[in-house]
Amino acid sequence: MIELDLALQRGEFSLELALQSPARALALFGPSGCGKTSTLLAIAGLLCPRRGRIAIDGHALFDADGNVDLPPARRNLGVVFQDARLFPHLSVRDNLRYGMPHAVVKDAFDDVVQLLELSAFLKRKPGQLSGGQIRRVAIGRALLRQPQALLLDEPLANLHREARAEVLEHLRGLKRGFALSTILVSHQADEVIALADSVALIEDGRLAALESTEAFKSSSAGAGVLVAANACATG
């Protein structure tokens, strides 16, 4: 259960969102600049909303009225940033293990490495990896945190076709293998359709619609936004 009720101000831009979704995997979909990444950062605790409440499976991460504002480190979320943000001075292995709780069994590490096919370059440094490999390590690192929910910010952005297909496959595999609440931010409809159960359409900092992926796929709004998203997608 994902509860979002927040109002954010970033310079000139303002965002107001209120939704509740029982979906395991929720996508925030909309063109660039509509506020999706800001929403994700607010959920992660890196941006502070002016008011509202953010809760996952009943655990409040932020609640203005109840005076709750957990620091990012205590929100127990696995965040995969759009720019991956792997630590350049650590090996892939050390990057993966950075957020691992102490009590984790070795098997969990091996499982993730196998699933994301990372064993070949555990000893390398991020500077020696390709775009797709970096993205996979970032996903693995977030997973190994054993979080209560996974946040993915444009996981397939800026990848060339092969890498995109590769990462998408792994993400599908994850969806099958892990029962983890996931919030996915994207402006690409195919990504959303492949990975999400429910889609929240965001336009100009407001929630335009909240529907199932099926509905999104076949709705004219979905198709329309698809076109618009591809047209307006700027840096």
Binding site: L46, P72, A73, R85, F87, P88, Y98, G99, R145
Partner: protein, 230 residues
Amino acid sequence: MHLLTPAETVALALSFKVSLVGVACSLPVAVGCAWLLARTRFFGKPVFEGLLLLPLILPPVVTGYVLLIVFGHHGAIGRLLDEAGLSIAFRWTGAALAAAVMAFPLLVVALRNAFESVDRKLENAAATLGAGAWRVFFGITLPLSARGLVAGLALAFARAFGEFGATITFVSSIPGQTRTLPIALYELISTPGGESGALRLTLVAVVIAVIASLIAALMLLRGGTREAEA
């Protein structure tokens, strides 16, 4: 083969001891202050910054005088140190304090720049992975600012090594205790017939300064730009 006279050797060794200890003691304070300047916002921050830079701006003799008043016998802090048997007046530890104070601003500025050059987004990522502030600092910020840190230390050491005005005003010249290389150099310059000794010590001082500059330049050149934040 003796390159330096025994007295000059004593002064040189003392300068190394005083500078190393001074910079080592200055470092933790400088790291804390640099982190505050680089990563936090608080009321009165410009004033705080200005105060930290004071030893760089004040005439060294003034700084030495302030140290004398505060840490000398009968000083506000000196009195307590005397009672505890930890007096630093007229001791090499006093010279080390003078060196530490004079090198401190250089260290803070260099460290602050080094911390600021670390991508904050990486620190944020570490936070989302469960790292508390200390772990982020020691695991991410510090290792990624290592080059700037070394450069700052090199410059601070050179400054501490060459410290004269504050030292001689605070702890005077006491052979073996506070007569550091710059003070010995000053005495040799002031003594008829001391020219050859002065030249020797000058060469030593120049060599040390050049080495420090080279280290700093090397670190800062290759350290280069981390990916600038858009």
